[in-house]
């Protein structure tokens, strides 16, 4: 029997560590690993995780740019996080005071924060508001935590869960407003839908706007015939240049109510669309189909 080198974990452990680095472990596997774990295994696990990350980097050279709006939200979230951390830091400092004084010190810190806010009468920016909200919430949590466990060590004050201010989300827009916003974006894809020979296509005009970064889009029709949802529904298809063109991505089903001349429909892509190449609308049975027979294609448009 061969002897295991001292700096190498055994085979079973390596298998677990590989799985941990690539897809994660089940609770049972994690317990097994915890029982086997050692300093050598920890170092080996870190190396494997680093190797997995390096391979992921090697395959991510085509990283897209983060959408500007999303980057801004992340920055606001970061502001809130660091404001909360600063407040928690004050609470830790206050923890050096003993016993009942700690509660007073925390409240003093809260008063000081409020006072600091008062002496700066300039209007608070949205980011500042989030920051102060997070700081105040964090202090309240710190005090409440202390009140519940008066004999707890100082660490219990430190263990305030990081307070993250809710990320502000704009009020929901109507599909028409959302479509208009996407149309205004320079990097969104705009496609005109053309009529086909299908009788259902007569007299309609339509277009698609699609934002590849957020994977959102809208289809807009004027003059598309109303359907009876109990009999038929319209179904959107997205042809992705990164996929087999025989199998376009399902973009969801929709209806055109009677006496409606114009509709704006959100596209609900069932899969991530990497290279949107064309959009089509077919008439299908209620609920849509997995694979269209393409007997009734009523609109079709290709990108640039």
């Amino acid at each position: 029997m061969t002897e295991q080198p001292q700096n190498q974990p055994d085979e079973a452990l390596v298998d677990l560590l590989i799985k941990q680095a690539t897809e994660g472990l089940s609770a049972a596997e994690q317990r097994t690993l915890d029982a086997l774990d050692s300093a050598v295994a920890s170092a080996y696990a870190r190396d494997l995780e680093r190797a997995a990350a390096a391979i992921a980097l090697a395959g991510s050279t085509d990283a897209p740019k983060l959408p500007a709006e999303f980057a801004q939200r992340l920055a606001q979230q970061a502001d809130a996080h660091f404001a909360g951390a600063a407040a928690a830091g004050n609470a830790i400092a206050a923890g050096s005071a003993s016993g009942a004084d700690r509660k007073i010190v925390d409240l003093e810190a809260a008063r000081a924060a409020a006072s600091a806010a008062r002496v700066q009468p300039r209007p608070l920016s949205r980011t500042s508001v989030i920051g102060w909200f997070a700081a105040a919430a964090c202090l309240v949590l710190a005090v409440l935590g202390w009140m519940r466990t008066p004999q707890a060590p100082i660490e219990s004050v430190v263990q305030v869960p990081p307070v993250v201010a809710p990320i502000e989300k704009p009020l929901p827009l109507t599909p028409a407003e959302e479509r208009a916003a996407l149309l205004a974006k320079s990097d969104s894809l705009k496609i005109t839908l053309g009529a086909t020979k299908d009788p259902g296509s007569t007299g309609m005009s339509g277009d698609v706007v699609w934002d590849p970064a957020t994977q959102r889009g809208y289809i807009h029709f004027t003059g598309l015939l109303a359907n009876n949802p109990a009999v038929h529904q319209y179904q959107i298809w997205i042809f992705d240049g990164g996929r087999d063109k025989r199998y376009p991505v399902d973009g969801g089903v929709f209806d055109v109510p009677a006496n409606t001349t114009e509709v704006v429909i959100p596209i609900r892509a069932a899969l991530m669309v990497l290279k949107p190449a064309a959009f089509a609308v077919t008439v299908e049975k209620p609920g849509g189909v997995v694979v269209s027979g393409r007997e009734h294609v009523v609109a079709l448009g290709a990108a640039g």
């Binding site: 590989i18 870190r46 990350a53 980097l57 090697a58 983060l66 999303f70 920055a75 990081p162 991530m272």
Partner: protein, 227 residues
């Protein structure tokens, strides 16, 4: 029921220069190819994560600008929907802010540290949701743009090392790594998709990962000796 079937010819997935089996790794040549002055500068000046840990708010913005696309890219690959990817990206950046103080520049670059945090969070999210794979296997038909070992300024050293190690593997071994590490499929799912015994998938995954790990350690030691 998926209508898709994985049927990509292996060599179509991997660029020819990567698939070429003649490329062998020479640790001495590889070490000499690295610029020691550049490495010294990198090691001496505080990294982005170290600046974040020290409370530099400008570094936070820089981090989002510099690595937002990378995190977003990894999250998109390992998430089921764009909305999931967005949530995951927010969680990953929170993890980055919390973990910045634990970053050790001697253990690797900012970039690989962030990729590790991203992968850890995404794996965790995948395990907490369903057993479904994060994406349709047809996604794997998309050619993967592996880092080019010659463009050091655009990639991290670790990505170059990984690319060199991958070049030494057989195409089917790389395919297993690609499906597992880039597309988030489990070993069992890879076995099913490729009609390959689970043991073979495990073996390929293991061999590939260990190969990259060894290469990274060898190069790190070589660079350390030169500095």
């Amino acid at each position: 029921v998926s209508i898709y079937h994985y049927h990509a010819p292996i060599l179509a997935i991997f660029p020819a220069e990567i698939a070429r089996p003649s490329h062998t790794f020479d640790p001495v040549e590889s070490t000499l190819a690295l610029d020691p002055n550049k490495l010294t500068r990198q090691l001496m000046s505080p990294s982005l994560l170290q600046r974040i840990a020290s409370g530099d708010s400008a570094a936070v913005r820089e981090c989002i600008d510099q690595y937002g696309g990378l995190v977003w890219s990894i999250a998109r690959r390992l998430s089921r929907t764009p909305s999931d990817a967005e949530d995951a990206t927010q969680e990953i950046f929170l993890d980055i802010w919390r973990s910045a103080s634990r970053f050790d520049a001697s253990q690797g670059s900012d970039k690989v540290f962030i990729a590790m945090i991203a992968r850890r969070r995404l794996i965790d999210r995948l395990r907490k949701t369903s057993a479904e794979p994060p994406m349709d296997p047809v996604e794997a038909l998309e050619a993967v743009a592996w880092a080019d070992p010659g463009t050091a300024s655009e990639t991290s050293i670790e990505a170059e090392q990984a690319t060199r190690a991958l070049a030494e593997l057989r195409p089917e071994q790389r395919q297993v790594l690609e499906l597992g590490l880039l597309h988030g499929l489990s070993q069992s799912e890879i076995a099913t998709r490729l009609s390959m015994p689970l043991g073979t998938v495990k073996s390929f995954m293991r061999r590939g990962l260990i190969k990259v790990r060894e290469l990274m350690n060898v190069e790190a030691e070589g660079v350390g000796a030169r500095l």
